[in-house]
């Protein structure tokens, strides 16, 4: 049966996540005067909430939920513009489990050992020895690092073993470091069988879908409130139609991510296709939605007193992790078209 709407149980999960995020991680934390705790401080709580063990089996100490619930969780994390390191912990736990390093898996899943994301800059080599240049986000206090490539290799390395070069970050309240690895041995390694790249695409796509939704809501709310020429600006077609397009993009990406998450959960033949499609569309749409949201806000929209600009900046971050949309386009064209539905 086709059912692409969230179930009551799924809605409960979403609601509890939203409750937590709006109290602990409101968008206001990103403002210049925001109470921006180091992320690492929140990791044990996130771990306790199960965010990094959603997809681990109960035997692995996980919640035994599927990629569907995990993607729903990450959509909310995207709406709240969380650090991309949440992806690193969720995927890192799988890498450790797949590599048979059960203690490490448990420590990551529980949030005791936070994992930062290392994003490839240029071509990298991930295997028994890891080489290449990587960007690290919010790496302070994160003992582990997840590194991935575009074909499904994924590795965990100890952050302490690397020399990190601090770089000036373009993204508010997100630090940036660069690390050059030369034949570094991983703590745990997983190959394409695990599909870490597919999970990364799916969950990043879900965060981008969250950006699309949240920008739609921000912009629409503002268009109802802000009065110019004697009426709310949302009454003007120029603004109304921009909002309609925000809604259309949010709808398209949101449903595609749901569809892809089911295919990934079912290990369907078109799982890579759908996750890649979701990532590249999510990125392109989130970038437009964020930019248009700034435009709809007018002057206030480009100041740090308004949250709109965070969406543009973090949409770029989510786009770039695991390879930007131009790379994903090539990945998608390498996939076969989805086949026919099976019959009995």
């Amino acid at each position: 049966m086709v059912d692409l709407l969230v179930s009551t149980e799924q809605q409960q999960i979403i609601d509890s996540v939203v409750d937590f995020l709006s109290v602990e991680l409101p968008l206001a934390r990103l403002r210049p005067d925001g109470n921006n705790r180091p992320d690492s401080a929140l990791w044990p709580i996130m771990g306790e909430l199960g965010w990094f063990m959603t997809s681990l089996t109960e035997a692995q100490g996980g919640l035994g939920l599927s990629a569907v619930e995990e993607a729903l969780l990450f959509r909310q994390l995207g709406r709240h513009l969380l650090t991309p390191n949440v992806l690193a912990s969720a995927i890192g736990a799988r890498v450790a489990a797949a590599a048979g390093v059960d203690e490490l898996a448990a420590a990551i899943a529980s949030g005791q050992q936070p994992v930062a994301l290392g994003n490839a800059v240029g071509r990298v080599s991930i295997g028994a020895r890891i080489s290449g240049r990587f960007h690290l986000f919010d790496a302070a206090g994160m003992p582990l690092l997840l590194l991935t490539d575009g074909v499904g290799n994924a590795a965990l390395v100890a952050t302490a073993s690397l020399s990190l070069l601090p770089r000036p970050s373009a993204v508010d309240a997100m630090s940036l470091h660069e690390a050059r690895l030369d034949a570094v041995a991983p703590l745990a390694l997983a190959g394409p069988d695990l599909g870490a790249h597919v999970t990364l695409r799916l969950l990043a796509a879900s965060m981008l879908a969250g950006v699309c939704e949240q920008t739609r809501d921000l912009a629409t709310d503002y268009a109802k409130l802000r009065v110019q020429f004697g009426q709310p600006i949302g009454a003007f077609q120029a603004i109304k139609h921009k909002c309609a397009d925000l809604a259309l993009r949010a709808d398209a990406v949101g449903h595609l991510v749901n569809f892809a998450s089911i295919r990934v959960a079912n290990r369907a033949e078109d799982a890579v296709f759908q996750a890649t499609a979701a990532k590249l569309l999510g990125a392109q749409y989130a970038l437009i939605n964020a930019k248009e949201t700034i435009q709809i806000h007018g002057g206030i929209g480009f100041t740090t007193e308004c949250d709109a600009h965070h969406f543009l900046k973090r949409a770029h971050v989510y786009d770039l992790i695991g390879g930007g949309y131009r790379q994903q386009q090539r990945f998608l064209l390498e996939e076969p078209a989805p086949g026919e539905e099976p019959v009995a």
């Binding site: 086709v2 949302g234 590249l280 998608l332 064209l333």
Partner: protein
Amino acid sequence: MNLDFTPDERHFRAEVRDWLRTHVPKETRPDDGPEMLAFDKAWQRRQFEAGWAGIAWPKEYGGAGLSLMQQLIWFEEYALAGGPYLGCFFVALSHAGPTLIARGTDAQKAFYLPKILAGETPWCQGFSEPGSGSDLASLRCRAVIEDDHLVVNGQKIWTSLANWSKYQELLVRTDPNSRYKGITWVIGDMELPGVTIRPIKCMHGAADFCEVFYDDVRIPLKNVVGEVNDGWNVAMATLGFERGTAALAEQIEMSRVVEDLIDLAHDRPGPDGLRPAIQDDEFAARLATLRAEVAALRAMSYAAISRGQRDLVPGAEGTLIALYNTETMQRIFRTAADMMGPEMLDLEASPSRWTSQYLRSVMQTIAGGTSEIRRNIIGERVLGLPRGR
């Protein structure tokens, strides 16, 4: 959330796939003319005889009474089997019939519905007028009651296939002093004296639409559906009938075009005349995004059907899908045109007649609702933005 079909649904898919692949006409549907009408009637008749007429109609009215999930499977398999456009029976099956089922009298139902299912009477729609395109409620084609008849004078436009239809769902102005409350929905017979039909040639070369003129056309009052002056409500009543399953066939067709383009891009030189088009990164970027967009469109339709299945009141999600559908279609065929290079000027250079389809796609964001009106609807009804003063 779920995309696993049940064993029953898979059985149903097997049955439908088998029947469609055996019975879908092998020949291409004629573009126009009496051959087209004969083709559409024969195909509808064939479906009727096998019990597949009126996919979404209740069994009590002779329909196939399929569940939403079965309809979804039907339309997916219909597209995959290369099933033809419903053509002359599209309005009858997807709009006129459902309106009669919802608001018609028993006599109307008994007389009109079986003739539709059996492939005897194509219908057309008489809503738009020259001065009332986007602003439908301003329609002026007037009807006055004389004895037991409505006497109709005026004009309709953008009526698809009027020249091949037997009946028409006709909106007329019966009260000139009221905007929404002075409209009546009536069944028109296209063969009545005083009806004149003029086909309108469109930019892709075919006459997809007609103008229809009414000169003292006398329609019996018993043909009114609902009440006199209540036609706006009758017209709105069927907006929710179509739960998004029919759009799936078109979307699967669009996926197929994208895949055809990707295949072609491997064989055909790109703009530099040397490398295959797929190695041109600009085409590759467009094709990949189009692949993602048709995938998103399918997911949106599945979500709309899921809402239908939960018996949720249909919202404006159909408008979102229609907007995305038509604009994606334009991007697809513009890419096809660009990929053909100079050969786009040759109507028969591609077996798929992509140039014609490209030109036709330009109409899609106007006919059936302009993108501008659709964005208004989304802004106001989905997002709750205020109307302008």
